[in-house]
Amino acid sequence: MSAAIGIHGAAKAFGTNVVIDGVDLSIPAGSVTAILGPSGSGKSTLLRAINHLEPLDRGVVTVGGETIGVRVRTGRDGVPRYKELPERLILRQRSRIGFVFQHFNLFPHLTALENVAEGPIASGVDRATARSRARVLLDRVGLGDRADTRPRQLSGGQQQRVAIARALALEPSVVLLDEPTSALDPELVGEVLGVIRSLADSGTTLVIVTHEVAFAREVADHVVFLDHGRVVEQGPPAQLIDDPQHPRTQDFLSRVR
C-alpha cells in the first residue's frame, strides 16, 4: 500500500514547552490509525499539524505525496528549506483533508444541510449540486430527516455526525478525527462510533486521536502510542493494546482500562 500520509521529523514547541519531539510516521492509504496517549502527549497537535492548522517548527507532513502547507526552496546560499505556502494554497490543500473536531465546531447559524454544503460551495461546486450531495451525506450519517435543523437543536451525537458529514463533503482522501467522542454523553458515543466504523469500512484513510481504547482495538489497523511528543510504541492493535512492550504504554493502558 502507498503512504497516504507521511510525517517526517516533525517537531513543535510552544515557547519552551516541547509538544512534538521528532515524530516519523507512515500511514498507508485506506488504513485506520488510532493515536493514543496521555493528555499533553502532543497527539492533538500532531493531528492538527497534518492539515497545517498547527504549523510545525521543523519537519514536514505529506498527504498523497504532496507537502502540506510548505514547499522546499533552495535559498541563495544553496541550502534547501521548507517555506510556508501562500494562505490561498494552504486553504486549497485543506479542502482535500477532512477534519472533525472534538467540540464539533458546526456553524450554529446555518442548518445541518448548509453546514455540509458550505465547503463544496466555497470551492466552486454549484449550489444545487452541493446541496443534493449534502443531503446524500446526511442520509449516510442517519440524519436525512434533520437537514433543515440548526445545530443547537440537535443532540451532541447528532451534531458530531453532521460534522463528520461536513468533513466528507469535499470528498477528502484522508479524514482526521480529533477525539470525536470526548465531548459526548456516554449514551451518545455509540452512534458516532457507528458512523466512524462505517467510514472505516468504506476505505477512507482515517487518523483518529481517541480515548476509546476498545474502539481503537476494534476499528484501527494500526495504533500509535505517543508520550511527551514522541512515538513510544506502535503496531497492530492486537499487539499494542493487548500485549504492550514499553512500560509507559503498559502503565497508560492499565490506567485507562
Partner: protein, 408 residues
C-alpha cells in the same frame, strides 16, 4: 424518524422512573416522624407562596409621586399644550426632522461599513494596517465630536483647495468649498467619529466568536473573505447589533451638534424658533422631546427584529413577537375552547408543522409534562411544548388538572 421514537421511549422510561420514586416514597414511609398529622393532611393542597406586602406599599408611594407630576402636566399652563400641537407638525419642524433623519441614517450606514473596515484592519496581522487602525480609533475617540465638526467646517481656510495627484507631479485640484456642502461636512464629521466607536464594537463582536469557528472555517479551506462574511460576521452580529444600535441612538442625539455648523436639524430649528417666539420655548422643547422619543422608539422596534434575526441558531426556539402574541390572543378570543390550544402551539416560529390537531396534541403532551416538572422535552421541541402547555392551562384547565391526577 428513529430519533423521534428514541426520544419518546426515553420519556416513557423517565415517566415510569418518576412514578416509581413517588410511589416508593409514599409506600415505604407512611409514618414519617418529621411530618405530623396536620403536615400529612396538607400534602394534597398546593403550597401557598410568600406574600410581599412591602412591594405593594412601595409601588403605591411611587405611583402617588408620579400622579402628582402628571397632574401638573394638565394644571400648569406653562407647558403650553396648544402650542405644542401647533408646532408638532409645522413645516419648519418637519424640515429639521428630515435633516436629522438623513444625517443620522447616512452616518449610521457609513459608520457601520467603515467600522467593519477599520475593525478588519485592526485585527489584521499586518502591523502597519493594525497600527493605522489603532491610531485612527485613538484620534477620533479622543477628540470631541463638536471639535471635529467645527474643524471640518473651517477646512476651507486650512486647505483652500483639495485634490489628488502624483506627489510632486501633476495635480487635480478643486476649491474645498465646492466639494463639501454643509450636509456633507456634517455627515463626514459624524461618521469620522462614529466609525471609531463602531470599529471597536465590530472588533469586540468578532473576538467574541468562538475560536473553534475560525478553525472549522480554515479546516474546510474556505477562502479568507468567505470565512469572514459567511461564518464569522453572522455570528459576531449577535453581539454587535445591540451595541451598535445603542451607538445609533447616541448618534441620533449627537446630530443635534450639527446646529453648530449652521445646519438646521430638529434641535437647530427648535433653537431658531424659540429665539423668534420666546413665549413658546417650553412647548418647542416639548416638541423636540416628543420627536426624539418617537425616533428612538422606532429604532428600538427595528433593533428588536434585527436581534431576533441574528439570534437564529443561538437559541433553540424564539419566543413569539409582541405582534404574534396579540394576534394569537385575538384568534384565541375568536375561536375559543380547544382552538386556543392549537393557536398557542402554532404561534412558535417552528410551530407551523402542527395543524389544528397537531397543535392540540402538542398542548396535551406539554400540559402533562409541565405538571410533572419535567418540561425539558426533546431537542427543539421545548419552547413549543411549553407554550402549548401554557395555552392549554389557560384554556382547557380542566383537562390539565385531570392529567395531573392521572400521573401522580
Amino acid at each position: 424518524m428513529t430519533e423521534i421514537t428514541e426520544v419518546s421511549r426515553r420519556d416513557a422510561t423517565s415517566v415510569d422512573g418518576v412514578g416509581d420514586v413517588h410511589d416508593v416514597r409514599r409506600a415505604s414511609r407512611p409514618d414519617d416522624v418529621t411530618i405530623d398529622a396536620a403536615g400529612r393532611a396538607a400534602l394534597d393542597r398546593p403550597v401557598v407562596p410568600l406574600r410581599h406586602p412591602l412591594r405593594w406599599i412601595a409601588a403605591a408611594l411611587v405611583l402617588v409621586v408620579l400622579l402628582n407630576f402628571v397632574e401638573t402636566l394638565f394644571t400648569n399652563e406653562q407647558w403650553g399644550w396648544p402650542a405644542v400641537g401647533k408646532w408638532l407638525f409645522s413645516p419648519a419642524i418637519l424640515t429639521g426632522l428630515q435633516l436629522t433623519l438623513v444625517a443620522t441614517a447616512l452616518s449610521a450606514v457609513i459608520s457601520f461599513t467603515g467600522g467593519i473596515v477599520i475593525a478588519i484592519a485592526r485585527l489584521s496581522r499586518n502591523p502597519v494596517l493594525s497600527g493605522l487602525a489603532w491610531g485612527y480609533v485613538w484620534l477620533f475617540r479622543s477628540v470631541p465630536l463638536i471639535l471635529v465638526l467645527v474643524f471640518l467646517y473651517n477646512l476651507g481656510s486650512l486647505y483652500p483647495t483639495i485634490g489628488v495627484g502624483i506627489p510632486f507631479g501633476p495635480q487635480l485640484e478643486v476649491p474645498t468649498a465646492n466639494v463639501l456642502g454643509d450636509l456633507a461636512i456634517g455627515v463626514i464629521g459624524l461618521s469620522l467619529s462614529e466609525i471609531a466607536y463602531a470599529s471597536e464594537i465590530v472588533r469586540a463582536g468578532v473576538l467574541a466568536v468562538d475560536h473553534g469557528q475560525h478553525e472549522a472555517a480554515q479546516a474546510l479551506g474556505l477562502p479568507r473573505r468567505r470565512q469572514f462574511v459567511r461564518v464569522i460576521l453572522p455570528q459576531a452580529l449577535r453581539s454587535i447589533v445591540p451595541a451598535f444600535v445603542n451607538q445609533v441612538v447616541g448618534l441620533l442625539k449627537a446630530s443635534s451638534l450639527l446646529f453648530y455648523v449652521s445646519l438646521l436639524d430638529l434641535f437647530g430649528v427648535v433653537q431658531n424658533l424659540s429665539s423668534t417666539y420666546p413665549t413658546d420655548i417650553i412647548p418647542l422643547l416639548v416638541v423636540a422631546t416628543i420627536w426624539y422619543l418617537a425616533l428612538t422608539s422606532a429604532v428600538s422596534v427595528v433593533q428588536y427584529y434585527v436581534e431576533r434575526w441574528t439570534a437564529r441558531g443561538s437559541v433553540r426556539s424564539l419566543p413569539p413577537t409582541p405582534l404574534q402574541r396579540v394576534r394569537a390572543a385575538v384568534r384565541r378570543g375568536a375561536s375559543g375552547g380547544a382552538g386556543g390550544a392549537s393557536v398557542g402551539a402554532s404561534v412558535g416560529p417552528r410551530g407551523a408543522s402542527g395543524g389544528e390537531s397537531g397543535g392540540a396534541r402538542g398542548a396535551s403532551v406539554g400540559a402533562s409534562r409541565r405538571s410533572r416538572g419535567a418540561s425539558q422535552g426533546g431537542p427543539g421541541g421545548a419552547g413549543r411544548l411549553d407554550q402549548a402547555a401554557a395555552a392549554a392551562r389557560s384554556v382547557a384547565s380542566g383537562t390539565s388538572t385531570s392529567n395531573d391526577r392521572g400521573i401522580s
